[in-house]
């Protein structure tokens, strides 16, 4: 393959690594997608927690609404207009918690109260430094004497420029660093540290001073955007307290970025008070309501990125759906797997041991469409008469090709019962299941390609969608570009490579990034292997099974260790908890939470990226524990479940919801 010389439009992947300029360049508004109000996020005095799984765009939103991007929206206006602009919105200070910074505090040999005081002091100095940088940027070359006077008086230092005050804050941070560093050899380090930590709230006091003493700033709201709240760990009560203390007396409020289940506890440091949703803060989850909106968002994001590269813009190659292909073609995939082979008919050998009879069956059930052949075979395997199925198949094809299927069913409601079922089972719902059976019979692997597939694989994480595109575009060369210009989408093999690469990247990332990465990896591997095994069922009794439920979730919640792992699994994005409680599985009358193994792993374990509902494996506490610690024998596990499930028929009609799930 020729060397890649075309710049990858999807190379900048995460908002975390983007400069403010890049955030602005790649910004596509997600407010409609997530039903968020930009005005509320900017101006609401009540703190807001933005909750979303990895890659949903929390950081992008937080950075976008912070000062250094917002100021670009009011370029070239007078100072007064600029101030008015921020009065009508807010001044956002973006701050990101670093996990390694928190880890440092676990090493310190002092009690939790002192650790918390030191942590808070660092946090305040970092925020104050940013506020000063914002003020310096805001005034630019203008006269800042009054501002400097106010600031220097606040910090009780000699008159200096705003930058000089910033350097003073840097020196305070450095002083703290030095004392922390000296702790390795100095028993008395804590006594040296404590005098540096005042009892006042530095951030609150500074904002009060700015509001009261700097002309024009009296009504400007400061919003502190704290990203990665889950990384704060043991210091969450400290942040909770800050949220709890927000009131109208200070022009200060907070926005937190957090993963689902990111709040370990709602304790505060104020006696027995707890942080309460809808009272102390508003919760705004990043969930989209309609697939269509997510699709549109992905198209717009991709367009912006593709337009930023000359070669794609000049050749009008900015429609990602056209570049990847709109949808998968199951028929074509089935045809390429089967070719001229008849191996799938061998599934009927035990029913028709005689050679001549078998030949007759093959002729009766055969047709040009391999998925239809497979469906016919399956019907026979499940007790249908081969000549009746063959006739039904022919009739169905004839009516469908003549576009008379609907009118026939409508005008012959009783006679058309069989045709109706044939259409229902074959034409949409179970085609992918049939394809998986063919893949199993022929020992082939599923291909993962097309815009629709990438959307589904990304499980609502736009970042994963961008990763899939990035891994696809990294193969781009001149010959592929020529194909695109001719209107041909990027070939399936390359898209499939990209999907597998992305899946492995994500799995590796989870294994590496968490303190318990190996356990999370083991769980993903166990669960993925179980779903893979269900997809290899030649009788298609478990169509596209890729969800699970716990036998008794409360039992897991009450086990601190297992609950911790469950939260880690959700936080890392390995599994996704569905929004509403549902019946756990077909035949199971209990309702509860359903979980999806992130669809991004589907290309590794060869399971479906769609969610069908119906049968879902139920995981006991013991098995959950086992699956975190060692590889499970998926064949044995599935066999055990199959025996329990014998009474359920395949192809039971299950109504799908908008999000692809079912309510049984």
């Amino acid at each position: 393959m020729a060397e890649n010389i075309i710049k990858n439009p999807f190379s900048e992947c995460t908002a975390r690594d983007m400069s403010y300029l890049e955030v602005q360049q790649y910004w596509c508004s997600p407010f409609r997608l997530y039903d968020l109000s930009e005005g509320e996020l900017l101006t609401c005095r009540t703190p807001i927690v933005i909750e979303g799984i990895r890659g949903t765009g929390k950081t992008m939103i937080m950075k976008y609404l912070s000062y250094f991007i917002q100021k670009k929206l009011c370029d070239s206006v007078s100072m007064e207009e600029k101030l008015n602009f921020f009065k009508n919105r807010s001044v956002g200070v973006y701050f990101r918690y670093k996990q390694d910074f928190r880890n440092l505090f676990e090493e310190l040999d002092c009690d939790v109260v002192n650790k918390e005081r030191i942590f808070k002091r660092y946090y305040e100095l970092f925020i104050v430094r940013q506020i000063l940088e914002i003020l310096e940027d805001f005034y630019g070359d203008c006269d800042t004497y009054t501002v400097e006077k106010v600031l220097c008086s606040f910090f009780s230092i000699e008159h200096s420029s705003i930058n000089g005050v910033c350097q003073y804050i840097n020196s305070l941070i450095k002083e703290m660093d030095q004392i922390l560093n000296s702790a390795i050899y100095d028993d008395g380090w804590i006594n040296k540290m404590m005098p540096l930590i005042g009892s006042r709230g530095l951030v609150t006091d500074l904002i009060c001073t700015i509001s009261n003493d700097i002309p024009g700033w009296e009504d400007v709201l400061f919003v502190i955007w704290l990203d990665e709240y889950e990384n704060v760990g043991i210091f969450q009560p400290l942040i909770n307290t800050l949220l709890k203390q927000v009131d109208d007396t200070v022009n200060l409020t907070y926005r937190l970025g957090m993963r689902p289940a990111g709040m370990d506890n709602n304790k505060t440091n104020v006696s027995a008070e707890r942080l309460q949703v809808d009272r102390d803060f508003l919760l705004r989850p990043l969930n989209y309501k309609r697939d269509k909106d997510y699709e549109e968002f992905a198209v717009n994001i991709s367009k912006k990125r593709l337009k930023s590269i000359d070669i794609f813009r000049e050749n009008c190659l900015t429609d990602i759906a056209g570049i990847l292909g709109e949808k998968e073609d199951f028929d074509e995939e089935a045809a390429s797997i089967v070719g001229k082979g008849t191996k799938h008919f061998k599934l009927l050998r035990e029913y028709f041991p005689e050679q001549n009879r078998m030949q007759e069956v093959i002729e009766e059930l055969s047709c040009d469409e391999k998925l239809m052949e497979m469906y016919n075979i399956l019907r026979v395997m499940r007790g249908g008469q081969y000549n009746q199925i063959g006739a039904l198949s022919r009739k169905y094809r004839e009516l469908r090709d003549a576009k008379q299927l609907s009118s026939y069913i409508k005008s012959n409601p009783i006679e058309s019962k069989d045709i109706k079922k044939y259409r229902l089972d074959y034409s949409g719902k179970y085609r992918l299941t049939l394809l998986y059976i063919l893949l199993t019979v022929y020992g082939e692997r599923k291909q993962y390609y097309s815009f629709n597939t990438f959307l589904k694989l990304s499980s609502g994480s736009i970042n994963d969608f961008i990763s899939l595109c990035r891994n696809t575009f990294k193969h781009m060369n001149d010959s592929m570009l020529e194909d695109l210009k001719d209107g041909k989408p990027i070939c399936r093999q390359i898209q499939t490579f990209a999907a597998v690469d992305t899946a492995e990247d994500q799995r590796r990332k989870i294994a590496m990034s968490s303190n318990n990465g190996n356990k999370l990896y083991t769980f993903i591997d166990s669960m993925g292997s179980i779903f893979e095994e269900y997809h290899r069922d030649l009788w298609g009794k478990y169509p596209e099974t890729n969800q699970f439920a716990f036998a008794d979730e409360n039992e897991i919640r009450n086990d601190s260790e297992l609950n911790y792992y469950l939260i880690e699994l959700i936080n890392s994005g390995a599994i996704i908890r569905k929004n509403k409680r549902q019946l756990k599985s077909v035949g199971n009358t209990a309702r509860g939470e359903l979980y999806l193994l992130n669809r991004i792993f589907a290309p590794i374990y060869q399971y479906s990226y769609r969610t069908r509902g119906g049968f879902n494996p139920i995981i006991s506490k013991q098995n959950f524990n086992l699956m975190l610690h060692k590889s499970i024998d998926a064949k044995k596990y599935v066999k055990g479940n199959k025996e329990e499930m014998q009474q359920f028929r395949m192809f039971d009609f299950v109504k799908e919801n908008e999000d692809g799930s079912t309510d049984l």
Binding site: D100, L104, E133, N181, I184, R508, M512, S513, G517, N518
Partner: protein, 323 residues
Amino acid sequence: MVQQIYDMELVTEENIFDREAYDYFLLAPNIERRSRAAFLKLKENLNIDKTIIMDYKNFHSNISQEQEDLFYCDLGTPLSTAIREETDMAALRELTKVNIQKKDRIAFDITGFSIPNLYRIMMVLKNVIQVEHIDVFYTEPKFYIYEEGYFDAYHNKKKKERRCAPIQGYCNSGENEKEILVIFLGFDGGLAGQVYFSLAEEGQEILQTLAVNGFPSYTAKLKDVSLFNNEDFINKIGRENVRCAVANNPFDVYNLLCQILEDYRGTLLNLCTIGSKPMALGTCLFALDHLDEVKVTYPFYEKTQFDDKEEPGKIWRYGINLL
């Protein structure tokens, strides 16, 4: 004439007598024979006034009393100060109470120390006691033992879960500048990737990540083992971001870091050494000289594992002026 611009030599039977005497010999003996090899070789041939044994608590979790007695017995006669404390930090504070003077002749065998403790002790020697000169000794392992084949994880560190944090003594919050993450590759499968994901993916905003491979390495194949075992990580950061430094030469590492600092002026270097101890020594010396521009991070783990089958290999001496 060949002029050596740094003081590094292989300790052999011939040159062992070049040294006169040491006032202190600092070591952390453990079940691995190489942790004691330099001391045993030197004590027979030159005068060691006092021995300081850093007897770290986590070393004892893996060994029997019998094994422990054996290596104490090995150490023999010189007057010993054994420092045994609950935590590494407490042990270090005890070390500052030993009456070491700045002009004392000190030998420091880094072989048996964990990398974080190496950093911390160097900090104490240079910035607290203000020692002027030390001789650092390092004994290579004779063989690296791979349980699952040469190009697989070095068994001691396989699949350990690590927690990345700054090494205390080398914390630096910086001035809001971007960070350059420099990871010195080791042989253990995937650890560099684990650090990268923890720091660059989940942690701070990293402007650039560089990997440093030990080349030339102790043996010809090792340079490839470290690349092979970190293949995913190298693919992630791009091959053009892999640099080299001689695996057993701290001075080469120091020079490389000077170059990196020059290339990325105005940034904060975040150093993470999971490679050889001499490389860690090089990064440590550099960090001590550039405390304002550097922070040091390490993937800490719960328990140190030792290999009682490991044989001592070559012994190196590095003469270092700390002034």
